[in-house]
Subunit: 211 residues, 2 copies
DNA sequence: CCAGAAACGATACGATCGTATTGGAATAAG
DNA sequence: CTTATTCCAATACGATCGTATCGTTTCTGG
């Protein structure tokens, strides 16, 4: 048989180029030609990797989602001995993409989210990524709640609810930073204040037990 | 002098068309021709109203921002006698654009926000709209805090902070509803749970005084 | 009524888009 | 070495975009 190329790595390379361009010119502002140029391959090569532009974007959004999710997981695995509170804080930080070095990823994410709001096929992978993050947060919150005593009754602090709140707040803050309404520092402050509040509510349902 | 037309009303009519299209096909998916067709005017008429497409989008985003802000204000003015808690809840509801009938506006807003993240001229009007909403929320929270006693010291619950949190949470929830990750009902529940928490913290800084 | 200014609709233009096609270079099997 | 097949780069194509231009129509002030 003739020539063989590693499509998987080329696809990733192209996805990176899509991200770079989406970061600079917005979602619809990425053209196949520009992507090819950025990825240092020909337009034909891009077309061989992906049947259409839509397929390419789909792959790219999955790529970004995986990267973010995995980074959160890595960060958590790196500090398993610390308190649940610290772990939650780190997770939230990684999700919110507030720091300067994550600005590009934040813009890409927002671009895809906006597109997904009017394009169901794009929304699927996005939901999957969010579900992974939510699971992770629920696990952390549940651990923090259970670490020490059994349930208390009345208002046991629904972990799914809290995870939703945290996820939505992180997303909203990211957005506000992107449009220059908040600085990264202000947003971080707001996020951490919310986490402190969550932590206090956690303790109130289970009065004993420190870090 | 020759023919005269009411440019202001025509501009508004065109802005409405922009909104309808942005709702259907996303931000960059609106073309001058489609806008003209929707607004039932000729392409030339649109060009006479706005020097360029960018100018048209700028006007449209202002239009939407004004509409949302004014609706919040109207809603508040309609129930001035009620408790501050109820007022805050209503304001949050209007801002979050969760209900089905606000879905279109939510999509438009998200479209512009995503665009603004990579286009500074669009970000300006957006920040202005957000600032108006934030002012409003700060006012409500401050009123609620002060209604009964003076300051307390230690942790007096920073109204600006809380307004930021509320605004970001509302935005994040809206987004999640748009991509189908949450139903409007779930999002509303999360939002109201947060408001309840805020209200309880309010009371804790100032133990006396009921509704 | 009647000029003249403003608005209009239509159409032209150049650029850029996603996609299809195609002729040749590269490579593994026989 | 030949041959068949896979890949590639270039180019062609049709559509659509934002914008510019240009007669024509329409209305107002004198």
């Amino acid at each position: 048989m003739p020539k063989q190329v590693d499509y998987e790595s080329r696809r990733r390379r192209i996805a990176e180029a899509v991200c770079l361009l989406a970061d600079e010119h917005g979602p619809e502002g990425v053209s196949m030609r520009d992507v090819a140029a950025r990825a240092q391959v020909s337009l034909g090569a891009v077309q061989r990797c992906f049947r259409s532009k839509g397929e390419m974007l789909l792959f790219a959004v999955d790529h970004v989602g995986d990267r973010i999710t995995e980074r959160v997981r890595t960060r958590l695995a790196a500090s398993p001995a610390q308190s649940a509170a610290a772990a939650l804080g780190h997770a939230a930080d990684e999700i919110a993409l507030l720091r300067e070095e994550r600005r590009a990823e934040a813009r890409i994410w927002l671009a895809f989210v906006a597109q997904a709001a009017v394009s169901e096929p794009l929304a699927g992978p996005l939901r999957t990524s969010y579900a992974a993050l939510q699971n992770l947060l629920v696990r952390l919150i549940t651990e923090a709640t259970e670490s020490g005593s059994a349930d208390e009754g009345a208002t046991p602090l629904n972990p799914e609810h809290e995870a939703c709140t945290l996820l939505a707040l992180a997303d909203g803050l990211t957005t506000h930073v992107l449009i220059g309404r908040l600085t990264a520092e202000e947003a971080e402050e707001v996020l951490h204040a919310h986490l402190v509040g969550l932590w206090e509510r956690l303790r109130s349902t289970r009065p004993r037990k420190a870090v």
